[in-house]
Protein backbone atom coordinates (compact mmCIF):
# COMPACT_ATOMS: atom_id res chain seq x y z
CA UNK A 1 0.00 0.00 0.00
CA UNK A 2 2.68 2.42 1.13
CA UNK A 3 4.83 1.69 -1.89
CA UNK A 4 1.91 2.25 -4.27
CA UNK A 5 1.08 5.53 -2.60
CA UNK A 6 4.63 6.84 -2.70
CA UNK A 7 5.09 6.01 -6.39
CA UNK A 8 1.65 7.18 -7.48
CA UNK A 9 2.39 10.90 -7.97
CA UNK A 10 5.37 10.20 -10.18
CA UNK A 11 3.56 7.46 -12.09
CA UNK A 12 0.83 9.92 -12.93
CA UNK A 13 3.33 12.66 -13.72
CA UNK A 14 5.51 10.53 -15.98
CA UNK A 15 2.47 9.19 -17.79
CA UNK A 16 1.03 12.66 -18.45
CA UNK A 17 4.28 14.49 -19.19
CA UNK A 18 6.57 11.83 -20.64
CA UNK A 19 4.43 9.15 -22.28
CA UNK A 20 1.49 11.23 -23.53
CA UNK A 21 3.63 13.95 -25.18
CA UNK A 22 5.74 11.36 -27.02
CA UNK A 23 2.63 9.53 -28.17
CA UNK A 24 1.32 12.90 -29.38
CA UNK A 25 4.49 13.52 -31.41
CA UNK A 26 4.08 10.09 -32.95
CA UNK A 27 0.43 10.94 -33.62
CA UNK A 28 1.24 14.30 -35.20
CA UNK A 29 3.78 12.61 -37.45
CA UNK A 30 1.07 10.33 -38.84
CA UNK A 31 -1.69 12.82 -39.57
CA UNK A 32 -2.27 15.81 -41.74
CA UNK A 33 -4.93 18.48 -41.58
CA UNK A 34 -7.21 17.78 -44.49
CA UNK A 35 -10.33 19.70 -45.54
CA UNK A 36 -12.52 17.55 -43.29
CA UNK A 37 -10.27 17.72 -40.24
CA UNK A 38 -7.21 15.67 -39.37
CA UNK A 39 -6.72 12.48 -41.34
CA UNK A 40 -4.16 9.68 -41.39
CA UNK A 41 -1.29 10.42 -43.73
CA UNK A 42 2.36 9.56 -44.22
CA UNK A 43 2.82 12.91 -45.89
CA UNK A 44 5.37 14.15 -43.37
CA UNK A 45 7.65 11.20 -43.96
CA UNK A 46 7.17 11.34 -47.73
CA UNK A 47 7.98 15.05 -47.68
CA UNK A 48 11.18 14.25 -45.80
CA UNK A 49 12.43 12.09 -48.70
CA UNK A 50 12.78 15.26 -50.78
CA UNK A 51 16.53 15.61 -51.59
CA UNK A 52 16.43 19.06 -50.01
CA UNK A 53 15.63 17.57 -46.59
CA UNK A 54 17.67 14.40 -47.00
CA UNK A 55 20.65 16.66 -47.60
CA UNK A 56 20.00 18.36 -44.25
CA UNK A 57 19.87 14.97 -42.54
CA UNK A 58 23.02 13.87 -44.35
CA UNK A 59 24.87 17.02 -43.33
CA UNK A 60 23.78 16.63 -39.69
CA UNK A 61 24.97 13.05 -39.52
CA UNK A 62 28.19 13.90 -41.35
CA UNK A 63 29.08 16.85 -39.07
CA UNK A 64 28.09 14.86 -35.96
CA UNK A 65 30.28 11.94 -37.09
CA UNK A 66 33.19 14.26 -37.79
CA UNK A 67 32.89 15.88 -34.40
CA UNK A 68 32.63 12.47 -32.70
CA UNK A 69 35.78 11.22 -34.43
CA UNK A 70 37.63 14.47 -33.64
CA UNK A 71 36.61 14.25 -29.98
CA UNK A 72 37.81 10.65 -29.87
CA UNK A 73 41.13 11.41 -31.57
CA UNK A 74 41.78 14.41 -29.32
CA UNK A 75 40.17 12.99 -26.18
CA UNK A 76 41.64 9.49 -26.03
CA UNK A 77 45.30 10.58 -25.74
CA UNK A 78 44.18 13.21 -23.24
CA UNK A 79 42.44 10.59 -21.08
CA UNK A 80 45.52 8.35 -21.33
CA UNK A 81 47.87 11.10 -20.26
CA UNK A 82 45.55 12.02 -17.39
CA UNK A 83 45.29 8.41 -16.21
CA UNK A 84 49.08 8.24 -15.96
CA UNK A 85 49.33 11.23 -13.62
CA UNK A 86 49.60 11.22 -9.83
CA UNK A 87 46.18 11.04 -8.10
CA UNK A 88 46.35 14.68 -7.03
CA UNK A 89 47.21 15.80 -10.56
CA UNK A 90 44.43 13.55 -11.88
CA UNK A 91 41.93 15.36 -9.71
CA UNK A 92 43.19 18.78 -10.80
CA UNK A 93 43.14 18.01 -14.53
CA UNK A 94 39.74 16.37 -14.18
CA UNK A 95 38.33 19.48 -12.50
CA UNK A 96 39.86 21.62 -15.23
CA UNK A 97 38.21 19.53 -17.96
CA UNK A 98 34.84 19.70 -16.24
CA UNK A 99 34.93 23.34 -15.13
CA UNK A 100 34.01 24.91 -18.51
CA UNK A 101 31.01 22.56 -18.66
CA UNK A 102 29.61 24.32 -15.64
CA UNK A 103 29.45 27.54 -17.54
CA UNK A 104 26.28 28.15 -19.49
CA UNK A 105 26.29 26.13 -22.71
CA UNK A 106 25.21 29.12 -24.80
CA UNK A 107 27.90 31.35 -23.37
CA UNK A 108 30.55 28.76 -24.13
CA UNK A 109 29.36 28.62 -27.73
CA UNK A 110 28.88 32.36 -27.99
CA UNK A 111 32.46 32.87 -26.76
CA UNK A 112 33.76 31.77 -30.15
CA UNK A 113 31.94 34.53 -32.04
CA UNK A 114 34.22 37.36 -30.87
CA UNK A 115 37.25 35.14 -31.51
CA UNK A 116 36.39 33.90 -34.99
CA UNK A 117 34.54 36.96 -36.31
CA UNK A 118 35.73 39.04 -39.24
CA UNK A 119 36.88 41.78 -36.87
CA UNK A 120 37.59 39.27 -34.15
CA UNK A 121 40.58 38.40 -32.09
CA UNK A 122 42.05 35.73 -34.37
CA UNK A 123 41.83 37.92 -37.47
CA UNK A 124 43.31 40.75 -35.41
CA UNK A 125 46.26 38.53 -34.55
CA UNK A 126 46.62 37.42 -38.18
CA UNK A 127 46.62 41.05 -39.31
CA UNK A 128 49.66 41.81 -37.16
CA UNK A 129 51.66 39.28 -39.17
CA UNK A 130 50.21 40.57 -42.41
CA UNK A 131 47.61 37.95 -43.26
CA UNK A 132 44.33 39.34 -44.65
CA UNK A 133 41.17 38.54 -42.66
CA UNK A 134 39.75 35.04 -43.14
CA UNK A 135 36.14 33.92 -43.05
CA UNK A 136 36.30 31.75 -39.96
CA UNK A 137 32.78 32.22 -38.70
CA UNK A 138 29.39 31.16 -40.09
CA UNK A 139 30.51 28.04 -41.90
CA UNK A 140 30.66 24.29 -41.27
CA UNK A 141 34.14 24.51 -39.82
CA UNK A 142 32.95 26.88 -37.11
CA UNK A 143 30.04 24.57 -36.26
CA UNK A 144 32.41 21.61 -36.05
CA UNK A 145 34.74 23.58 -33.79
CA UNK A 146 31.83 24.53 -31.56
CA UNK A 147 30.78 20.89 -31.25
CA UNK A 148 34.26 19.64 -30.40
CA UNK A 149 34.67 22.45 -27.89
CA UNK A 150 31.37 21.73 -26.18
CA UNK A 151 31.37 17.95 -26.23
CA UNK A 152 35.05 17.02 -25.74
CA UNK A 153 34.60 16.50 -21.96
CA UNK A 154 31.81 14.00 -22.68
CA UNK A 155 34.37 11.88 -24.51
CA UNK A 156 37.26 12.33 -22.10
CA UNK A 157 35.41 11.56 -18.86
CA UNK A 158 34.09 8.05 -19.60
CA UNK A 159 37.37 6.96 -21.21
CA UNK A 160 39.35 8.35 -18.29
CA UNK A 161 37.07 6.55 -15.82
CA UNK A 162 37.58 3.22 -17.57
CA UNK A 163 41.33 3.73 -17.84
CA UNK A 164 41.89 4.46 -14.14
CA UNK A 165 39.74 1.50 -13.12
CA UNK A 166 41.67 -0.82 -15.42
CA UNK A 167 43.60 -3.62 -13.77
CA UNK A 168 47.25 -2.57 -14.08
CA UNK A 169 48.45 -6.16 -13.67
CA UNK A 170 46.94 -7.09 -17.04
CA UNK A 171 49.18 -4.53 -18.72
CA UNK A 172 52.18 -5.69 -16.70
CA UNK A 173 51.43 -9.27 -17.69
CA UNK A 174 51.41 -8.28 -21.36
CA UNK A 175 54.71 -6.48 -20.92
CA UNK A 176 56.23 -9.45 -19.09
CA UNK A 177 55.15 -11.67 -21.93
CA UNK A 178 57.19 -9.52 -24.28
CA UNK A 179 54.67 -7.19 -25.87
CA UNK A 180 56.05 -3.80 -26.86
CA UNK A 181 54.21 -0.60 -25.95
CA UNK A 182 52.30 -0.34 -29.20
CA UNK A 183 51.27 -3.96 -28.89
CA UNK A 184 50.13 -3.48 -25.31
CA UNK A 185 48.03 -0.54 -26.41
CA UNK A 186 46.39 -2.24 -29.41
CA UNK A 187 45.83 -5.61 -27.79
CA UNK A 188 45.19 -4.75 -24.15
CA UNK A 189 44.53 -1.11 -23.26
CA UNK A 190 42.33 -0.18 -26.21
CA UNK A 191 40.06 -3.26 -26.16
CA UNK A 192 39.63 -2.96 -22.40
CA UNK A 193 38.75 0.72 -22.67
CA UNK A 194 36.11 0.17 -25.36
CA UNK A 195 33.13 0.49 -22.98
CA UNK A 196 34.37 3.99 -22.14
CA UNK A 197 34.83 4.79 -25.82
CA UNK A 198 31.31 3.56 -26.58
CA UNK A 199 29.65 5.72 -23.95
CA UNK A 200 31.84 8.66 -25.00
CA UNK A 201 30.82 8.23 -28.64
CA UNK A 202 27.18 8.06 -27.63
CA UNK A 203 27.40 11.13 -25.45
CA UNK A 204 29.05 13.19 -28.20
CA UNK A 205 27.09 11.94 -31.19
CA UNK A 206 23.66 12.30 -29.59
CA UNK A 207 23.77 16.01 -28.74
CA UNK A 208 25.80 16.77 -31.88
CA UNK A 209 23.29 15.27 -34.29
CA UNK A 210 20.31 16.97 -32.65
CA UNK A 211 21.66 20.45 -31.87
CA UNK A 212 20.32 23.63 -33.34
CA UNK A 213 22.06 26.05 -31.00
CA UNK A 214 25.61 25.55 -32.22
CA UNK A 215 24.58 25.73 -35.87
CA UNK A 216 22.46 28.82 -35.18
CA UNK A 217 25.18 30.73 -33.34
CA UNK A 218 28.33 29.65 -35.18
CA UNK A 219 26.85 28.65 -38.54
CA UNK A 220 24.75 31.75 -39.02
CA UNK A 221 22.12 30.87 -41.56
CA UNK A 222 24.71 28.97 -43.60
CA UNK A 223 24.54 25.65 -41.79
CA UNK A 224 21.11 24.05 -41.55
CA UNK A 225 20.93 20.89 -39.45
CA UNK A 226 18.09 18.55 -38.55
CA UNK A 227 17.66 20.38 -35.24
CA UNK A 228 17.19 23.69 -37.07
CA UNK A 229 14.68 22.05 -39.39
CA UNK A 230 12.59 20.73 -36.49
CA UNK A 231 12.78 24.04 -34.64
CA UNK A 232 11.64 25.97 -37.72
CA UNK A 233 8.68 23.64 -38.31
CA UNK A 234 7.45 24.22 -34.77
CA UNK A 235 8.29 27.88 -34.25
CA UNK A 236 8.21 29.64 -37.61
CA UNK A 237 6.69 27.47 -40.36
CA UNK A 238 4.03 25.98 -38.06
CA UNK A 239 3.96 22.69 -39.95
CA UNK A 240 3.79 20.59 -36.79
CA UNK A 241 2.99 17.39 -38.62
CA UNK A 242 6.17 17.66 -40.69
CA UNK A 243 8.17 18.72 -37.61
CA UNK A 244 6.87 15.69 -35.72
CA UNK A 245 7.79 13.40 -38.63
CA UNK A 246 11.36 14.72 -38.63
CA UNK A 247 11.53 14.25 -34.84
CA UNK A 248 10.45 10.63 -35.22
CA UNK A 249 13.16 10.11 -37.85
CA UNK A 250 15.71 11.69 -35.50
CA UNK A 251 14.64 9.44 -32.61
CA UNK A 252 14.84 6.39 -34.86
CA UNK A 253 18.31 7.43 -36.02
CA UNK A 254 19.52 7.74 -32.43
CA UNK A 255 17.93 4.43 -31.42
CA UNK A 256 19.60 2.66 -34.32
CA UNK A 257 23.01 4.17 -33.56
CA UNK A 258 22.67 3.24 -29.90
CA UNK A 259 21.76 -0.30 -30.89
CA UNK A 260 24.80 -0.54 -33.19
CA UNK A 261 27.05 0.86 -30.46
CA UNK A 262 25.59 -1.57 -27.94
CA UNK A 263 26.59 -4.42 -30.22
CA UNK A 264 30.20 -3.21 -30.61
CA UNK A 265 30.42 -2.91 -26.86
CA UNK A 266 29.39 -6.52 -26.35
CA UNK A 267 31.89 -7.72 -28.93
CA UNK A 268 34.70 -5.59 -27.65
CA UNK A 269 34.65 -5.50 -23.89
CA UNK A 270 35.81 -9.06 -23.37
CA UNK A 271 38.50 -10.18 -25.75
CA UNK A 272 40.60 -8.51 -28.44
CA UNK A 273 38.61 -6.40 -30.84
CA UNK A 274 41.03 -6.27 -33.76
Amino acid sequence: MLKRLSTAPYLLWSFLLIVVPLVMVLGYSLIRTGPGGPEFSLNGFIKFTDPLYLKVLGLSVWIALQSTVLCLVIGYPLAMIMSGLKPSAQRTTMTMIVLPMWMNFLLRTYAWIPILGRNGLLNGLLATIGIPPLNLLFNEGAVLLGMVYNFLPFMVLPIFTVLIRMDRSVIEAAQDLGANRLHVFWRVTLPLSLPGVVSGVMMVFMPAVSTFVISDLLGGSQVNLVGNLIKDQFLSVYDWNFGASISVVLMALILVSMWILGKTDKNGSGVSFF
Binding site: T7, L106, L157
Partner: protein, 268 residues
Amino acid sequence: MSRWLQKSYLFLIFTFLYAPIAVLIVFSFNDSKSTSNWSGFSLRWYAELFQDDKILSALYYTLAIALISSLISTVMGTFAAFGLSQMRGRFKGFVLGVNNLPILNPDIVTGIALMSLFVFTGTRLGFMTMLMAHITFSTPYVILSVLPKFKQLSSEMLDAALDLGATPWYAFRKVILPEIMPGIITGFLMAFTLSIDDFVISFFTTGGGVSNLSIEIYSMARRGIKPEINALSTLMFLTVLLLLFVINRRSEKGAGVVLPKTDTLERM
Protein backbone atom coordinates in the same frame (compact mmCIF):
# COMPACT_ATOMS: atom_id res chain seq x y z
CA MET B 1 55.37 9.39 -24.81
CA SER B 2 57.87 11.63 -23.12
CA ARG B 3 56.88 13.75 -20.16
CA TRP B 4 57.56 16.89 -22.15
CA LEU B 5 55.26 15.87 -24.97
CA GLN B 6 52.50 14.97 -22.51
CA LYS B 7 52.79 18.29 -20.75
CA SER B 8 52.61 20.24 -24.01
CA TYR B 9 49.55 18.28 -25.07
CA LEU B 10 47.78 19.06 -21.80
CA PHE B 11 48.79 22.69 -22.15
CA LEU B 12 47.39 22.83 -25.69
CA ILE B 13 44.06 21.29 -24.68
CA PHE B 14 43.63 23.57 -21.70
CA THR B 15 44.44 26.60 -23.86
CA PHE B 16 41.70 25.45 -26.25
CA LEU B 17 39.24 24.95 -23.39
CA TYR B 18 39.97 28.18 -21.56
CA ALA B 19 40.94 30.69 -24.26
CA PRO B 20 37.33 31.57 -25.15
CA ILE B 21 36.39 32.04 -21.50
CA ALA B 22 39.49 34.17 -20.92
CA VAL B 23 38.65 36.32 -23.95
CA LEU B 24 35.12 36.89 -22.68
CA ILE B 25 36.37 37.85 -19.24
CA VAL B 26 39.12 40.17 -20.47
CA PHE B 27 36.92 41.98 -22.98
CA SER B 28 34.11 42.40 -20.47
CA PHE B 29 36.36 45.11 -18.99
CA ASN B 30 37.07 46.72 -22.36
CA ASP B 31 35.93 50.29 -22.78
CA SER B 32 34.85 49.85 -26.41
CA LYS B 33 32.57 47.35 -28.12
CA SER B 34 35.50 45.79 -29.96
CA THR B 35 36.67 42.29 -29.18
CA SER B 36 40.03 42.60 -30.91
CA ASN B 37 41.29 45.98 -29.73
CA TRP B 38 41.86 46.96 -26.14
CA SER B 39 40.84 50.54 -25.50
CA GLY B 40 41.14 50.83 -21.77
CA PHE B 41 39.69 49.40 -18.59
CA SER B 42 36.07 50.11 -17.82
CA LEU B 43 33.16 48.70 -15.87
CA ARG B 44 30.52 50.22 -18.13
CA TRP B 45 29.21 46.86 -19.43
CA TYR B 46 28.61 45.73 -15.87
CA ALA B 47 26.71 48.94 -15.19
CA GLU B 48 24.62 48.44 -18.34
CA LEU B 49 24.02 44.82 -17.46
CA PHE B 50 22.43 45.75 -14.15
CA GLN B 51 20.18 48.29 -15.82
CA ASP B 52 18.94 45.73 -18.30
CA ASP B 53 15.48 44.78 -17.04
CA LYS B 54 15.23 41.82 -19.40
CA ILE B 55 18.39 40.22 -18.03
CA LEU B 56 17.38 40.85 -14.44
CA SER B 57 13.96 39.30 -14.96
CA ALA B 58 15.56 36.35 -16.77
CA LEU B 59 17.90 35.89 -13.80
CA TYR B 60 14.91 35.91 -11.47
CA TYR B 61 13.02 33.30 -13.53
CA THR B 62 16.12 31.11 -13.88
CA LEU B 63 16.66 30.97 -10.13
CA ALA B 64 12.98 30.67 -9.21
CA ILE B 65 12.37 27.81 -11.62
CA ALA B 66 15.60 26.05 -10.67
CA LEU B 67 14.77 26.22 -6.97
CA ILE B 68 11.09 25.23 -7.21
CA SER B 69 11.58 22.52 -9.83
CA SER B 70 14.53 20.92 -8.04
CA LEU B 71 12.67 20.89 -4.72
CA ILE B 72 9.55 19.32 -6.23
CA SER B 73 11.46 16.79 -8.29
CA THR B 74 13.61 15.82 -5.30
CA VAL B 75 10.55 15.11 -3.14
CA MET B 76 8.60 13.36 -5.90
CA GLY B 77 11.67 11.44 -7.09
CA THR B 78 12.64 10.29 -3.61
CA PHE B 79 9.14 8.95 -2.89
CA ALA B 80 9.05 7.28 -6.31
CA ALA B 81 12.46 5.71 -5.69
CA PHE B 82 11.25 4.34 -2.35
CA GLY B 83 8.21 2.75 -4.00
CA LEU B 84 10.29 1.41 -6.87
CA SER B 85 12.83 -0.13 -4.50
CA GLN B 86 10.01 -2.21 -2.99
CA MET B 87 8.71 -3.35 -6.36
CA ARG B 88 9.75 -6.30 -8.48
CA GLY B 89 9.19 -7.56 -11.97
CA ARG B 90 8.00 -6.23 -15.26
CA PHE B 91 6.08 -3.21 -14.00
CA LYS B 92 9.18 -1.81 -12.30
CA GLY B 93 11.17 -2.34 -15.49
CA PHE B 94 8.52 -0.50 -17.45
CA VAL B 95 8.50 2.47 -15.06
CA LEU B 96 12.29 2.68 -15.15
CA GLY B 97 12.18 2.48 -18.95
CA VAL B 98 9.79 5.43 -19.11
CA ASN B 99 11.99 7.18 -16.56
CA ASN B 100 14.99 6.85 -18.93
CA LEU B 101 13.16 8.41 -21.87
CA PRO B 102 13.85 12.08 -21.03
CA ILE B 103 17.51 11.22 -20.33
CA LEU B 104 18.07 9.38 -23.60
CA ASN B 105 15.86 11.44 -25.89
CA PRO B 106 17.44 14.49 -27.52
CA ASP B 107 16.40 17.67 -25.69
CA ILE B 108 14.74 19.03 -28.81
CA VAL B 109 12.38 16.05 -28.95
CA THR B 110 11.48 16.38 -25.26
CA GLY B 111 10.96 20.09 -25.86
CA ILE B 112 8.62 19.82 -28.84
CA ALA B 113 6.75 16.90 -27.25
CA LEU B 114 5.98 18.93 -24.13
CA MET B 115 5.13 21.96 -26.23
CA SER B 116 2.69 19.85 -28.28
CA LEU B 117 1.01 18.68 -25.09
CA PHE B 118 0.70 22.16 -23.61
CA VAL B 119 -0.61 23.70 -26.79
CA PHE B 120 -2.98 20.80 -27.44
CA THR B 121 -4.49 21.05 -23.97
CA GLY B 122 -4.77 24.82 -24.28
CA THR B 123 -2.34 25.51 -21.42
CA ARG B 124 -0.91 29.00 -21.79
CA LEU B 125 2.86 28.82 -22.28
CA GLY B 126 4.74 30.65 -19.56
CA PHE B 127 6.12 30.21 -16.07
CA MET B 128 3.97 27.20 -15.13
CA THR B 129 4.63 25.24 -18.32
CA MET B 130 8.38 25.87 -18.08
CA LEU B 131 8.30 24.80 -14.43
CA MET B 132 6.43 21.61 -15.31
CA ALA B 133 8.90 20.87 -18.10
CA HIS B 134 11.84 21.31 -15.72
CA ILE B 135 10.27 18.98 -13.14
CA THR B 136 9.73 16.45 -15.93
CA PHE B 137 13.33 16.36 -17.12
CA SER B 138 14.98 16.50 -13.68
CA THR B 139 12.97 13.94 -11.71
CA PRO B 140 14.46 10.97 -13.65
CA TYR B 141 17.94 12.04 -12.54
CA VAL B 142 16.78 12.27 -8.92
CA ILE B 143 15.29 8.78 -9.09
CA LEU B 144 18.46 7.33 -10.59
CA SER B 145 20.58 8.86 -7.84
CA VAL B 146 18.31 7.94 -4.91
CA LEU B 147 17.30 4.42 -6.01
CA PRO B 148 20.73 2.81 -5.38
CA LYS B 149 20.69 4.19 -1.82
CA PHE B 150 17.40 2.42 -1.10
CA LYS B 151 18.84 -0.79 -2.51
CA GLN B 152 21.78 -0.59 -0.12
CA LEU B 153 19.45 -0.09 2.82
CA SER B 154 19.05 -3.16 5.00
CA SER B 155 15.48 -3.87 6.02
CA GLU B 156 16.66 -5.25 9.39
CA MET B 157 17.63 -1.77 10.48
CA LEU B 158 14.10 -0.50 10.08
CA ASP B 159 12.65 -3.61 11.74
CA ALA B 160 15.05 -3.22 14.66
CA ALA B 161 14.01 0.39 15.16
CA LEU B 162 10.33 -0.54 15.07
CA ASP B 163 10.91 -3.44 17.50
CA LEU B 164 12.62 -1.07 19.88
CA GLY B 165 9.49 1.04 19.98
CA ALA B 166 10.12 3.75 17.39
CA THR B 167 7.08 5.08 15.57
CA PRO B 168 7.28 4.59 11.78
CA TRP B 169 7.80 8.33 11.25
CA TYR B 170 10.54 8.45 13.92
CA ALA B 171 12.21 5.38 12.41
CA PHE B 172 12.06 6.96 8.97
CA ARG B 173 13.69 10.17 10.17
CA LYS B 174 16.34 8.58 12.35
CA VAL B 175 17.16 5.38 10.45
CA ILE B 176 16.26 5.62 6.79
CA LEU B 177 16.74 9.30 6.03
CA PRO B 178 20.40 9.54 7.16
CA GLU B 179 21.25 6.53 4.96
CA ILE B 180 19.67 7.88 1.77
CA MET B 181 20.58 11.54 2.35
CA PRO B 182 23.72 11.53 0.14
CA GLY B 183 21.62 10.28 -2.78
CA ILE B 184 18.95 12.90 -2.17
CA ILE B 185 21.53 15.70 -2.03
CA THR B 186 23.21 14.49 -5.22
CA GLY B 187 19.82 14.29 -6.91
CA PHE B 188 18.86 17.76 -5.77
CA LEU B 189 22.14 19.28 -6.98
CA MET B 190 21.75 17.51 -10.33
CA ALA B 191 18.20 18.78 -10.72
CA PHE B 192 19.25 22.29 -9.78
CA THR B 193 22.21 22.49 -12.16
CA LEU B 194 20.29 20.87 -15.01
CA SER B 195 17.53 23.42 -14.57
CA ILE B 196 19.91 26.40 -14.43
CA ASP B 197 21.74 25.27 -17.54
CA ASP B 198 18.77 24.23 -19.64
CA PHE B 199 18.07 26.05 -22.85
CA VAL B 200 16.42 23.81 -25.44
CA ILE B 201 13.49 22.48 -23.40
CA SER B 202 12.80 25.88 -21.82
CA PHE B 203 12.92 27.51 -25.24
CA PHE B 204 10.01 25.38 -26.48
CA THR B 205 7.93 25.38 -23.33
CA THR B 206 7.90 29.05 -22.36
CA GLY B 207 6.04 32.04 -23.67
CA GLY B 208 4.37 35.25 -22.69
CA GLY B 209 7.60 37.12 -22.02
CA VAL B 210 8.89 34.61 -19.48
CA SER B 211 12.47 33.69 -20.32
CA ASN B 212 15.48 32.37 -18.48
CA LEU B 213 19.10 33.46 -18.85
CA SER B 214 19.84 30.88 -21.55
CA ILE B 215 16.97 32.08 -23.70
CA GLU B 216 18.03 35.70 -23.16
CA ILE B 217 21.63 34.92 -24.13
CA TYR B 218 20.42 33.08 -27.22
CA SER B 219 18.37 35.97 -28.49
CA MET B 220 21.11 38.49 -27.64
CA ALA B 221 23.82 36.41 -29.31
CA ARG B 222 21.79 36.06 -32.48
CA ARG B 223 21.59 39.82 -32.78
CA GLY B 224 25.39 40.01 -32.75
CA ILE B 225 28.04 40.69 -30.18
CA LYS B 226 26.86 42.49 -27.10
CA PRO B 227 29.50 43.31 -24.51
CA GLU B 228 26.92 42.95 -21.74
CA ILE B 229 26.99 39.21 -22.44
CA ASN B 230 30.72 39.24 -21.69
CA ALA B 231 30.04 40.89 -18.35
CA LEU B 232 27.28 38.38 -17.65
CA SER B 233 29.58 35.45 -18.51
CA THR B 234 32.26 36.73 -16.18
CA LEU B 235 29.80 37.00 -13.31
CA MET B 236 28.34 33.57 -14.04
CA PHE B 237 31.79 32.00 -14.27
CA LEU B 238 32.77 33.46 -10.92
CA THR B 239 29.50 32.22 -9.38
CA VAL B 240 30.18 28.74 -10.71
CA LEU B 241 33.71 28.78 -9.31
CA LEU B 242 32.35 29.76 -5.93
CA LEU B 243 29.59 27.14 -6.06
CA LEU B 244 32.03 24.41 -7.06
CA PHE B 245 34.32 25.39 -4.23
CA VAL B 246 31.45 24.95 -1.78
CA ILE B 247 30.28 21.67 -3.34
CA ASN B 248 33.81 20.27 -3.41
CA ARG B 249 34.26 20.98 0.27
CA ARG B 250 31.06 19.04 0.81
CA SER B 251 32.02 16.25 -1.54
CA GLU B 252 35.10 15.43 0.52
CA LYS B 253 32.52 14.03 2.89
CA GLY B 254 30.95 11.84 0.22
CA ALA B 255 28.34 13.40 -2.02
CA GLY B 256 29.90 14.65 -5.23
CA VAL B 257 28.51 15.66 -8.56
CA VAL B 258 30.74 15.96 -11.55
CA LEU B 259 28.44 16.30 -14.52
CA PRO B 260 24.81 15.27 -14.25
CA LYS B 261 24.56 13.79 -17.70
CA THR B 262 27.84 11.88 -17.75
CA ASP B 263 27.42 10.62 -14.21
CA THR B 264 23.97 9.27 -14.88
CA LEU B 265 24.67 7.76 -18.28
CA GLU B 266 27.67 5.93 -16.90
CA ARG B 267 25.60 4.35 -14.20
CA MET B 268 22.87 3.24 -16.59
